[in-house]
Amino acid sequence: MGLREYVIRRLLQLVVTFWAFFTLLFVLFRLVPGDPTSMFILDGMTPEQREQRIAELGLDQPLHVQYVEYISQLLTGDFGQSFIYREPVIDIIIVRFMNTIVLMGTALFFAYLIGLTFGALMGWWRGSKFERGGIVVTLAARSSPEFWVGIVLLSVFVFWLGWFPSGGMRTTGGELGGGFLARYGSTDFLRHLFLPALTGAIVFMATPTLLMRNTMLDVLNADFIEIKKAEGLPERTVLYRHAARNSVLPIVTVMAIATGAAMGGSVVIETVFNWPGMGREMVRAVNSNDYPVAMAAFFLMGSVVIIMNFLADLAYVYLDPRVEYE
């Protein structure tokens, strides 16, 4: 079976996965107790008003009708109206989604860049002071709660040194809008991005570092490493081109999962740094039974996980020639 058939089949699997995911979301949201009107009852909403509101939202329809409606809306990219804001969900969520992606993307990028490099070196210099110190630092970073790391960074860099702003995404009064670059490339934005991204990087770094070190230790025992050394190749070539290149394979899968976890786990960092991201919006939506917003948030998060896994599978085929297309 060739590469093309493999990709096509994985794409079909992707469609099935997405369908299962949609359905699960739909069912979950019908199972949760309460409805969008429950929080207004105390405010004096009459039963008639309540019935009317529910009918407006289409929640009085039989489930299968709701389901068909739901799927067709998703396929047209229509996430509906927020129950609370009474605005299209897409307007509320998409900007926040991008904010989260930029923040977590930056954090993950640096976490994996630093983690893979240090993990590889720790494996290479096994038993050295560098390795032992590295393990202590990594474990400390791994055991620190995100909010605590965030608060420590805030107190050092903001309240003590005063180098960075304390939160938010841009200085009040700073211009908004424009293209993607104007939005996410300005110095002002980057200064705001630094601390929350650093917090994320510190927390996420441990997994790739330790995993990389472990796989390096395995790979370094392989016969081919000894042959590469016997060939006279320089240490750097053996380390990066052969040992690290082989060790990185299992990390690809972990990275896909970690990205999903980072999207979901962003809420703590977003709260500490007052970052207008999707995690916070999702929590708000769930608390106020704002189905469409919450569902859209879950939908985007889940999609990231599914798509990352798909990409990881493709990357794996590219990186490891031994993978069979099955």
């Binding site: 038993g127 392989a222 016969d223 081919f224 000894e226 042959i227 590469k228 050394k229 016997a230 060939e231 006279g232 190749l233 320089p234 070539t237 052969h242 290149r245 082989n246 394979l249 990186l319 490891d320 020639p321 031994r322």
Partner: protein, 353 residues
């Protein structure tokens, strides 16, 4: 002057309880085009000895004494960089035991051959290097187009041939072959050995063949060095080692392999295990397993003695050749209860450290 002259080489490993003397005072010379076999059990130190020649050992190992002179160059004194650039692979290459694991699985076999050619020869273009890899494949009986295959797409025998191609690609003067056929089935073993010998003659390189298989060495080697406990206990030309060895260990090794011409011959194994090489005591290291050991063997480390034509033996009783050969052929001689220190005092179990 020989191509390779090893004198009193000592390669030790640092262990938690002292130095492991994996190679302990070995002298060995290899001439141009000559094949020398290193035989011995697992753990006898034969691999460490061979890898010491290109200083290929883990970080906790070290050449503590002795000299390795390769064609006028003192290998023990080279810097790492000189060693990599001047000696490794271009002068001394190796064929590993398991070729399947000898190639990096994520690159094609051809690209790995090209990599090593291009590293050692600055003026060779990628195209020329590829051409050479294809030629080598062709000569070794592999379809040249397969240089673009990955290692896992090769069968065991083919991978070993590809490994030989890799070992030969810079026409080295010495090839270290570390049990090159043990991972293969018997039918292929013979063909691979023939191929190695043929190519070796073609480029006139010397070879050090490491094996525990007496039949392999007798077929392929000009001279055989028997390694025990980190020392070369007997060395002579292949015929002498096979037909009239003097060291009891060699006699024992020979008993442990089947002889096709003599079907009735029982296989006799040597009781016991190779010695612990952490700070060994004085005395012959084979004495605890030797049916002929006397008080002297336990007390005094035997020196190498020359029995003519370069036949060196480290044994106090090597001059009693006829008696030894006759007794060693009997199964009763090698019974466990017959062996031990003659003066009835039980061997000391605790070490004094």
């Amino acid at each position: 002057m020989s191509l390779l002259e090893i004198t009193d080489l000592k390669t030790y490993y640092r262990a938690s309880d002292g130095w492991v003397r994996a190679t302990d005072g070995v002298s060995l010379s290899v001439d141009r085009g000559e094949t020398v076999g290193l035989v011995g059990e697992s753990g006898s130190g034969k691999t460490t000895l061979a890898k010491s020649i290109i200083r290929l050992f883990p970080k906790n190992a070290e050449i503590v004494d002795g000299s390795i002179n390769y064609d006028g160059t003192e290998i023990t004194e080279l810097t790492d960089r000189q060693l990599r650039k001047q000696i490794r692979w271009s002068e001394i290459s190796m064929i590993p035991q398991n070729a399947m694991n000898g190639f990096d699985p994520v690159y094609t076999v051809g690209s790995q051959i090209v990599e090593v050619i291009r590293y050692h020869e600055d003026d060779t273009s990628k195209k020329e290097a590829r051409k050479r890899a294809r030629e080598l494949f062709n000569e070794l009986g592999i379809d040249p187009d397969r240089i673009d295959d990955y290692p896992h797409q090769f069968s065991g025998g083919m991978a070993q041939r590809a490994m030989i191609a890799l070992a030969l690609c810079l026409s080295p003067n010495i090839i270290l072959a570390d049990e090159p056929t043990t991972a293969l089935d018997v039918v292929i073993q013979d063909r691979i050995l023939e191929t190695i010998k043929e190519k070796q003659r073609e480029i006139d390189s010397a070879m050090i063949m490491i094996t525990h298989d007496m039949s392999v060495v007798s077929e392929t080697c000009d001279r055989i060095a028997v390694v025990y406990g980190g020392r070369v206990v007997e060395i002579a030309d292949a015929e002498t080692i096979m037909m009239s060895p003097r060291h009891p260990y060699t006699l024992g090794l020979r008993n442990a392999f089947p002889d096709i011409s003599d079907e009735d011959k029982d296989l006799i194994s040597i009781p016991g295990t190779p010695p612990d090489l952490v700070d060994p005591d004085e005395g012959c290291r084979f004495a605890p397993r030797c049916p002929f050991a006397t008080e002297e063997c336990w007390e005094v480390t035997p020196e190498a003695e020359d029995y003519g034509d370069g036949h060196m033996v480290e044994c106090h009783r090597a001059d009693e050749i006829e008696y030894l050969q006759e007794e060693a052929a009997k199964k009763e001689t090698w019974m466990e209860q017959e062996i031990g220190r003659p003066d009835e005092t039980p061997p000391e179990v605790t070490s004094d450290d």
